[in-house]
Symmetry: C2
Subunit: 692 residues, 2 copies
């Protein structure tokens, strides 16, 4: 995932309940560490400040963050968060990835087929309702009850207007708290500006997760409603000066996930069953895409965004794996778990309530080990890697699920979530048949590798064909590349499906019963057991450490507080800032270290001393990409796009001395817009946005 | 490596010194478990039987095993051991990989450019001499002294005739015993027969390491001397009937390496620092080669052998990794180490002698951790993956090393080893420039990834070029694809080099000082410390367990004793035999499950009940590929080509109930030669070979 950036937190300080170090913590809007903010920064945000910030910040439903930066719905995020849109709007003739994109006027702004923005408007605690629904239940009963209550709560929260309202039940503290988050949903989102990939991702994969950096990793979107730019009252004004060394910085975003509260059994399973297989899969996919991309400029254009995602995830997950291979870290976590279990077992009542939870989770993970490969290959879709297959499955499952009561559906087909499905399904993004054929053929060979050539499902899928021949035949025969065909099948429901002879629809029909069976087994025997017992551990943790702590990240809005500060790398001080001049000094002219023509042409007019990128101590992780960096006046001083190399693996703890968030400087954004891209209107809109 | 097959041994029985289970053990010719053979099989081989077997068996220096099967120097081994030769003899017009190869007469037998055969003639114990040379030394002194004494011993052993004699000092029991093995060397080795890849490797990677199997994984070579077929007195006659269920089978071969005696620190380092990085590298390379291969039939032909090697190693090492991730195995090994260390520490004298060895090794591995990535990338050559670079380095280093006294050279350039270098360097095997360009460009991106784009060496190598541009330029400018040019540079030595403007020679000149520095550091601070302390642990082990055990595999000749026996797979009995009919039943017609035309045409004439593949309980591992399976009359009953899936990971222990060696049945070899390939002369030569 292009948003799979990692951050780090100091587990010890957290788990022992000690107050977090400066920088540590991903705080929910309704539980900011106010005493600590006063102590660390003399900062005392009032309710209005917090609400404004909360509603100015945005989530990109696909896996990024962003923010409103003008009253006319202008949105600032990363290039790597809009890269897929830029690619989808490009053609062999006009490649915006290479040339960049600028809408000179409103009428030139083009809709992104698959981007959805969420603005968090309301948080309601529903802990009691969820816990009562699952009270005393286990296994399948627990799983069904949990699904049902969540779907009910979300549906009630959405009410009539599911087009503009999205509600998600959020599980915090691994079941310690359940909230329902009510979002305003924007699905008409248009591309306003994107620089050339060479500028946005200067240094490419080699410099990814590194600093010093020289990237203009920015993208500008605009939210529309009823065909007009959305009028918004909450947005962040722009600070041209940015923030100085030592100045407090607040980052609001949607960190995707952290693993700071997992049990030892879960950590070992993560390391051996999840990270290693997915890294091996990513590595092979990377090699495939590298060679595919080298075959022609058009193939380069088609594959580059996927390859970026693969390389980005690879590097991030590699760092996590190395963290989990560090015996000192593992031993420390073992001690922490022993400490909590000791606390539980010391009291008979607590022991009776919580004592078995860790072993129950471990047992569920043993079950997981027996189905994990099949589950990921079939239900996870790893063995059928093609957009056509994904579309066919949405259609086939959608027809079946929509006939069921809301509470009994697969979660992703509940009423409150259907708009996300249809946005993807009806997307006008181009599908490249020859590329899909390569990916599908390859993933079918993986399916055979993982399940074995004598496996019944493998025989059923491949028959007497090779993966290559099957992929070719399916793709030659499908019409699902056409959004109109997909829409007709979706809206036609079961009847339309019955008449369809599309080969992907037929394939999904063959595979889906086994896929669903695996999912049911996973939900009933693994997920529900882990959820139930994680809730118990969370309750025990509250009893021991209280609630003045932050929950693991859940791709919901979090506030992170830090400051502009470099670090010491092998005895050498790393300055927190780079400048535009540094980009020219590091340009070799060869990809990925080449600056595009517009920059070379503008060199003389540019202020080479203008700060370009900078680092702060804020605690972020994947999903924070595109987050605004604001100062205490709630002005934009930067745009998060990465973490430094030390932040890799930091799913598990935070090291204030080394871990840094990497951002684009607000001044560099204005400098580039005006002098390189001559986007005066856009720059003016940013600079004129003021607090009203 | 195409020979990277794995076998398994029951560590407990071994380490606790208990007698090995039936099947377990890789025994040196001079230390067979005679009492056990009598007890288990009523088998009492005399000195003559053993010597004959020893001299009839062969080692393929590149990493396989084989055996003489006629007095005229005919050699039986695996197709995957001669695959590289078959490919090197093929062209776009005539692809012997696809069509197979048969020399109807002697004159049609074609020399393999890079195959060397070794016949083990003599074993001499030199333990005292080696240990005295390193007595009381450590670090660089130890490393130099060890290198010097080994080179001296080998040179004395070889004497005048380095062309036909090869001597290797062999380190057994991790330094418990040093022997010098004297081999008769054959470098004029010609291809006689190879079936189509589709037959040899039916089922391909999906079925690799699996059983039931239906492979004719055989290749036939002939050793020549003075331009004539070599006359040999020791060879194995052929048994048409093969061996029956329960019958004892002896496998003679050269298992490449096992890790049954490593310390816990070494096992952890193997898992985290060696296996995982190499698996990730193999996975990415695999994806690259899969896509490269798909681009044209010619590219398929060029890349297939490399891809086979990559996939084979990947599957084998994946199995090893999973074994090392099994906590029960790791805990068991921890107990075993604790047991031995307890024995050592219980006695003050022993403690003083051996007590520190484990921690010293652990410390050396910490040093290794700090240089490992650079060492593998630069000295290991992973960052410069191209035949041209390998050639250039042989030439540049050869010129420097040959000017030094034998004892002071890099080991691979000692007098006794130069013939192996020159065989590779002067090889007439074709070099495909566009393929080399893809591999080199890719590995240069890895170099940059591992060392970082700001690394001095990376900047020195890449300058302002991209890896792709640099690879293109280097390969466009080199003449090293021509063996005559390589020969001239080698023979011209320093003077010729000084005049050379070949870009790869220049690149190696730039990189080699740093490569050599890394190697020196590795040898002095890691290898020598591990060798020295492993010797101490080996001595302690001898004190506790005695010497009635077998040493870890070292790619030297070993005898393994077992029997024909199936196993039970998830409650279902697996028969030890498959037959030719089964191959036709499993043929889908789609690669890799397609039988070639010759087989389809011969179907009616074939005895479909003829046994094709079979499994035995013998203890084998990578390097055993091509090993003869003989009965107590020393007749060939089969040809080892694989281990079953349970044997994966068995670097570390042996499970007699599950671990099986997989072989081609001798009867199937004759049946196929006569009825499918109409190779009557060859079949006659095999069947007429009798004990004289």
């Amino acid at each position: 995932m292009s948003s799979d950036k990692i951050c780090v937190a100091f587990m010890l300080a957290f788990v022992t309940g000690g107050s977090a170090l400066a920088g540590e913590g991903m705080w929910t809007p309704d539980n900011l560490p106010k005493a600590q903010l006063r102590a660390d920064y003399g900062f005392t945000p009032d309710a209005k400040w917090i609400e404004r910030a909360q509603k100015s910040a945005l989530r990109l439903a696909g896996g990024c963050s962003g923010s409103f930066v003008s009253p006319k719905g202008l949105v600032l995020t990363n290039h790597h968060c809009v890269n897929s849109c830029v690619q989808q709007l490009s053609t062999a003739e006009k490649d915006f990835i290479k040339s960049g994109f600028l809408a000179k006027e409103e009428k030139d702004e083009v809709k992104c087929p698959e981007i959805e923005l969420n603005r968090l408007d309301q948080i309601t605690n529903v802990t009691e309702r969820v816990k009562q629904a699952t009270q005393g239940k286990s296994g399948e009963d627990y799983s069904k009850a949990e699904k049902a209550v969540k779907s009910d709560i979300e549906k009630e929260c959405v009410g009539a207007d599911s087009e503009h309202t999205r509600c998600d039940v959020v599980n915090l503290y691994h079941g310690g708290v359940y909230d329902v988050y009510k979002y305003h949903r924007y699905q008409d989102v248009r591309l306003v500006f994107a620089p050339e990939l060479e500028t946005a991702f200067f240094g490419g994969d080699p410099d990814n997760f590194n600093f010093p950096r020289y990237d203009l990793d920015m993208g500008v979107l605009r939210a529309y409603e009823n065909g007009k730019p959305a009028k918004v009252t909450d947005y962040f004004p722009f600070s041209k000066n940015g923030a100085d060394t030592g100045e407090m910085t607040v980052i609001l975003g949607n960190p995707g996930g952290t693993d700071r509260q997992l049990t030892m059994a879960e950590l070992a399973s993560t390391r051996d069953r999840d990270l290693i297989p997915v890294l091996l899969l990513l590595a092979e996919r990377r090699g495939l895409l590298e060679q595919f991309r080298s075959e022609s400029p058009e193939r380069w254009r088609i594959a580059q965004n996927d390859l970026f995602g693969v390389e980005n995830s690879y590097k991030a997950l590699r760092g996590r794996l190395e963290a989990l291979q560090d015996p000192t870290v593992f031993d420390r976590k073992r001690q922490q778990e022993a400490e909590l279990r000791g606390f539980v077992n010391a009291d008979p009542a607590r022991k009776a309530k919580y004592g078995a939870a860790w072993d129950e989770i471990a047992k569920a993970l043993v079950v997981y080990g027996t189905i994990e490969t099949r589950y990921k290959a079939i239900e996870g879709g790893r063995g059928f890697g093609s957009r056509y297959y994904d579309y066919a499955r949405m259609i086939v499952r959608g027809a079946a699920e929509r006939d069921k009561p809301n509470a009994e559906r697969l979660r992703e087909f509940s009423d409150s979530r259907l708009p996300s499905i249809t946005q993807r399904l009806f997307s006008t993004a181009p599908v490249y048949a020859d590329y899909e054929e390569v990916k599908l053929a390859w993933s079918l060979t993986k399916l055979r590798e993982w399940l074995g050539s004598d496996d019944a499902l493998v025989k059923q899928v491949l028959g007497k064909e090779s993966p290559e021949a099957l992929a070719k035949r399916l793709i030659a025969g499908t019409k699902l590349g056409d959004p109109a065909v997909r829409k007709a099948l979706w809206e036609g429901g079961a009847d339309a499906l019955a008449k369809s002879d599309d080969p992907f629809i037929a394939l999904v029909r063959d595979v889906d019963p086994q896929a669903r069976a695996l999912r049911t087994r996973y939900e009933n025997e693994v997920e529900s057991v882990i959820d139930k017992n994680s809730e118990l551990i969370a309750a025990a943790r509250f009893e021991k450490y209280g609630t003045s702590v932050y929950p693991d990240a859940t791709f919901t809005q979090r506030f992170s507080f830090g400051k502009v500060e470099g670090w010491t790398e092998k005895g050498v001080a790393v300055s927190p800032f780079t400048d535009i001049g540094g980009a020219f000094e590091h340009a070799t002219g060869a990809y990925p270290f080449a600056l595009p023509p517009a920059w070379l042409a503008a060199k003389n007019s540019l202020n080479l001393k203008q700060r370009l990128n900078f680092v702060t101590t804020n605690d972020i992780i994947g999903g924070n990409s595109g987050s605004p960096v604001i100062n205490r006046k709630a002005e934009i001083v930067g745009l998060v796009f990465d973490g430094n190399i030390h932040s890799l693996g930091g799913d598990y703890w935070y090291d204030a001395s080394l871990n840094r968030a990497v951002s684009v400087h607000s001044g560099a954004i204005l400098e580039a817009l005006r002098k390189v891209y001559h986007a005066q209107a856009l720059a003016n809109e940013l600079e004129s946005a003021r607090r009203h």
